[in-house]
């Protein structure tokens, strides 16, 4: 059984550019969440989507946006990249949005480096 799949695994971008990160949830999971993990810190919540609707948004600027597709996969978009956006971006999938006993599995992440 495939776990949470994220692509690409590594990415180098220049300041000011735009980036799109992709996530495929575990089969049957309808909710996808995105987290940013800066080196040496714990993951920070960015977004949660469930059934293609945004269910939660963390304290991130409007440069960050996301969407979820009918097949429940998701994209995280970041515009006007800053050096401080360099981080590991994690995707987590779960069956539903708000309950803790329905599984919550992280992917291995996309390592974004902004130069």
């Amino acid at each position: 059984d495939a776990g949470v799949t994220q692509s690409p695994t590594h990415l180098i971008k220049t300041r000011g550019q735009h980036v799109t990160l992709r996530c495929s949830p575990i089969s049957g999971h309808k909710s996808v969440s995105w987290y940013q993990q800066v080196l040496g810190q714990g993951p920070q919540f960015i977004f949660q989507y469930y059934e293609k609707e945004e269910r939660g948004r963390g304290n991130f600027p409007d440069r960050f946006s996301a969407r979820q597709f009918p097949n429940y996969s998701s994209e995280l978009n970041v515009n006007a990249l800053l050096l401080g956006d360099s981080a590991l971006y994690l995707c987590a999938s779960s069956l539903v949005a708000g309950r803790t006993n329905y599984g919550y599995t992280f992917g291995s992440g996309t390592r974004l480096t902004v130069v």
């Binding site: 810190q41 714990g42 920070q44 269910r55 708000g98 309950r99 803790t100």
Partner: protein, 114 residues
């Protein structure tokens, strides 16, 4: 404002010893407290979790102790093994809402020497 404070930042333990990591939270609405284990190049993986209606939960060598009045919880790893060397994160969330947002601590890098 850091809602979940984790200590220590790093920990070195001898094989067979006990590893103890502590966390404190501020938001009294939190009602689910998981611990995650993360190896280099991987995403966090759920290790064990507890709800505030119990004071202790044990799964194999891993135990969570929970003190609701002090708003503190800790992870104990008994008989620590070199394979346990990883970064450990405590987290907290308010379950039952419209979304499931985990608030993480800053992490503890555990090294178990053979």
């Amino acid at each position: 404002q850091q809602q979940v404070k984790q200590s220590p930042q790093s920990l070195i333990v001898q094989k067979g010893g006990i590893s103890i990591i502590n966390c404190a939270y501020e938001n009294t609405a939190f009602d689910y407290f998981p611990w995650y284990q993360q190896f280099p190049g991987k995403g966090p993986a759920l290790l064990i979790a507890i709800r505030p209606d119990v004071s202790e939960k044990k799964e194999g060598r891993f135990t969570i102790s929970f003190n609701k009045s002090a708003k503190q919880f800790s992870l104990h790893i008994m008989d620590s093994q070199p394979g346990d060397s990883a970064t450990y994160f405590c987290a907290a969330t308010h379950s039952g809402g419209s979304n499931y947002k985990l608030t993480f601590g800053k992490g503890t890098l555990l090294t178990v020497n053979p």
